[in-house]
């Protein structure tokens, strides 16, 4: 392929990807809904010609949709899942890798089988269980089901089996039990896996929709992903405010991931090679 053609396609890709994102930003900065509507299909929808933060102010002061509360909900839920998932799964993975029991081989097979079960086929019984336990519309119901994670467990397991046997033996000779060996040797070693999983779990939760839409009722426990949809629904055609909501929700995360880009790419491709 000639160089000109290569650059042509590269620029085309930039246009196709940035176009919709530019529109989000442009519309969010435009305080006049009639002006947005008139320019919706023109170039003026993609390149800002006014800069006003009125829409942002409107979103932040909307009583029916407390943006900061949504933000807190998402941060709290994702944070709790991350901490829980990293500890719980790495603990179990370490026991499967270096424990004594004969059951371990079968347990690993069971874990691999569980990776294949889609969350979508579990949501209805989970919903029934949660509703009978009376924990619908809470933080717990959005956190607990995602802590034990067969995929994360397997990633940790693969990593732990590669630790040199001598290291584990030496710990045992020193009188450490398995838990101490995990805490002082296993866990500090698996920082790269922790980084990878943090990114993957974050992305998964960031896009999680089906489960939170089923188990949250009002703004109190609703995460941002569902809130975006609810906001979109209740402010139809107020594009300026919808886009301001979208910008506040997505731009900080985009910037953060672009900064840690290299790590991010490794996590995504690592999940592919290992999965």
């Amino acid at each position: 392929m000639s160089r000109t053609l290569t650059y042509f396609f590269a620029l085309l890709m930039v246009l196709v990807v940035l176009g919709p994102l530019m529109m989000m930003v442009t519309v969010s900065l435009n305080p006049s809904e009639p002006d947005i509507s008139v320019n919706m299909g023109t170039i003026r929808a993609f390149i800002p010609h006014v800069v006003s933060f009125e829409n942002y102010q409107a979103v932040l002061t909307d009583r029916n949709h407390p943006f900061l509360r949504y933000l807190f909900n998402t941060a709290f839920i994702v944070g709790a899942i991350l901490i829980g998932a990293i500890l719980v799964n790495s603990m179990a993975a370490f026991a499967l890798a270096w424990g004594q029991g004969r059951y371990r081989k079968w347990a690993v097979v069971a874990v691999v089988a569980m990776i294949a079960v889609p969350m979508e086929s579990l949501v209805l019984p989970l919903l029934l269980m949660s509703s009978r336990m009376g924990i619908v519309n809470s933080y717990e119901v959005q956190i607990l089901p995602f802590i034990a994670n067969a995929f994360a467990l397997f990633l940790f397991y693969q990593f732990f089996t590669k630790i040199p046997k001598d290291l584990i033996e030496a710990a045992r000779v020193d009188g450490m039990n398995l838990f101490q060996t995990y805490w002082y040797i296993g866990l500090p070693l698996c920082k790269p896996i922790i980084a990878t999983l943090s990114i993957l779990i974050f992305l998964e939760q960031w896009n999680n929709y089906l489960w939170p839409v089923m188990v949250t009722r009002g703004p109190e426990f609703r995460p941002l992903s569902v809130a975006m949809a609810a906001y979109f629904d209740s402010n139809r055609m107020y594009w300026g405010q919808i886009m301001a909501f979208a910008v506040m929700m997505s731009i900080p995360i985009m910037v953060f991931f672009l900064i840690v880009q290299r790590h991010f790419v490794q996590s995504v491709t690592g999940s592919a090679v290992k999965g």
């Binding site: 392929m1 290569t6 396609f9 590269a10 890709m13 930039v14 196709v16 990807v17 919709p20 529109m23 509507s37 919706m40 299909g41 023109t42 500890l87 719980v88 603990m91 179990a92 026991a95 424990g99 029991g101 569980m114 079960v117 889609p118 086929s121 579990l122 209805l124 019984p125 919903l127 269980m129 509703s131 009978r132 607990l144 089901p145 034990a148 039990n177 398995l178 838990f179 101490q180 929709y209 089906l210 839409v213 941002l224 992903s225 569902v226 975006m228 979109f232 919808i242 886009m243 909501f245 929700m249 997505s250 995360i253 985009m254 991931f257 672009l258 790419v265 995504v268 491709t269 592919a272």
Partner: protein, 293 residues
């Protein structure tokens, strides 16, 4: 004594994961099987729910709406998988070249992956807006008349519109995997081919494509499974309409199980969905294994 201490700590390490997996994966998995044979409701009735045998399955399998949802899901999958894989591979090939400003191009290409799907849906709803959104204006420019096209409100266009949005939203994931695959192919193979005078297309056919065989299997499986789960876009944009033309299996399950509270009936759908996904994954693996040998 020491052995007992070891066993005790082994158990302590395992316990939280075992308990959580039992409660939140294994129990619901078997529970959905059990529920699919009952008339359980989400909101408890005064009468206890009963065992109804295969009734839910026979009702699901004779419901024209279910089959429409199955057809729509396959239709979406058959469109989005080749389309999205082709875009991802194309972008990966492009970004594997030594371009000036490569870091910029790569960063831009990754952006859709970082935006939450609900944000992307809102943006595309604006692009599909009637009567004066971007796509309507573009269509009018090309056809030179001012007929209004309601992309999301048309039986024929709603699904293709969702395909386009979905491909845009998630192509970077597959692109990154392809990119990693491309970088595994040794550089000297291309150098040798260039010396022998092979052109770009011949090199792609002889070196790149065979070199990507394993990556292709993986990408195909994850993209297909992802496509089968289509729900968020439908729930926000069309609710399965117009006239059921964008109803998908998961949306059908959601409406029956959650909105109408027919847990027993909808559990039969989720069991069928699980079987479908498992069968497709096995078939794809087998087909590609044969081609590989």
């Amino acid at each position: 004594m020491q052995r007992i201490r070891h066993l005790w700590s082994e158990g302590a390490l395992l316990a939280p994961a075992v308990i959580l997996l039992l409660v939140f994966v294994i129990a619901p998995f078997f529970l959905s099987g059990y529920l699919s044979f009952t008339n359980e409701r989400l909101i408890p009735r005064p009468v206890p729910s009963q065992w109804v045998g295969w009734r839910n399955y026979s009702r699901v399998l004779t419901d024209p709406d279910f089959w429409q949802a199955v057809r729509n899901t396959f239709y979406f999958t058959l469109m989005v998988v080749p389309f999205q894989c082709a875009i991802s591979l194309g972008a990966a090939l492009l970004l594997n070249k030594k371009l000036a400003g490569l870091t910029f191009f790569r960063s831009v290409a990754m952006l859709p992956l970082l935006a939450p799907i609900t944000v992307i849906i809102a943006i595309w709803a604006a692009l599909y807006q009637v009567p004066n959104g971007f796509f309507n204006t573009a269509v009018n420019l090309v056809t030179r008349d001012d007929r209004i096209v309601d992309f999301l409100g048309s039986r024929d266009l709603a699904m293709p519109a969702i395909v386009l949005l979905s491909a845009w939203a998630s192509f970077p994931f597959q692109m990154l995997i392809y990119l990693a695959g491309l970088q595994e192919i040794p550089e000297d193979r291309y150098e040798a081919a260039t010396l022998e005078g092979a052109n770009a297309w011949q090199q792609f056919k002889a070196i790149t494509w065979p070199g990507l065989i394993n990556v292709n299997i993986f990408v195909l499986i994850i993209t297909t499974v992802q496509a089968f789960k289509l729900f968020t876009q439908i729930n926000i944009l069309t609710k399965g309409g117009p006239l059921g033309s964008t109803n998908t299996i998961i949306n059908y399950m959601f409406v029956n199980g959650y909105s109408e509270g027919r847990i027993g009936f909808a559990s039969a759908v989720s069991v069928l969905f699980f079987i479908l996904v498992a069968v497709i994954a096995v078939i794809q693996r087998l087909v590609f294994k044969n081609e590989n040998e």
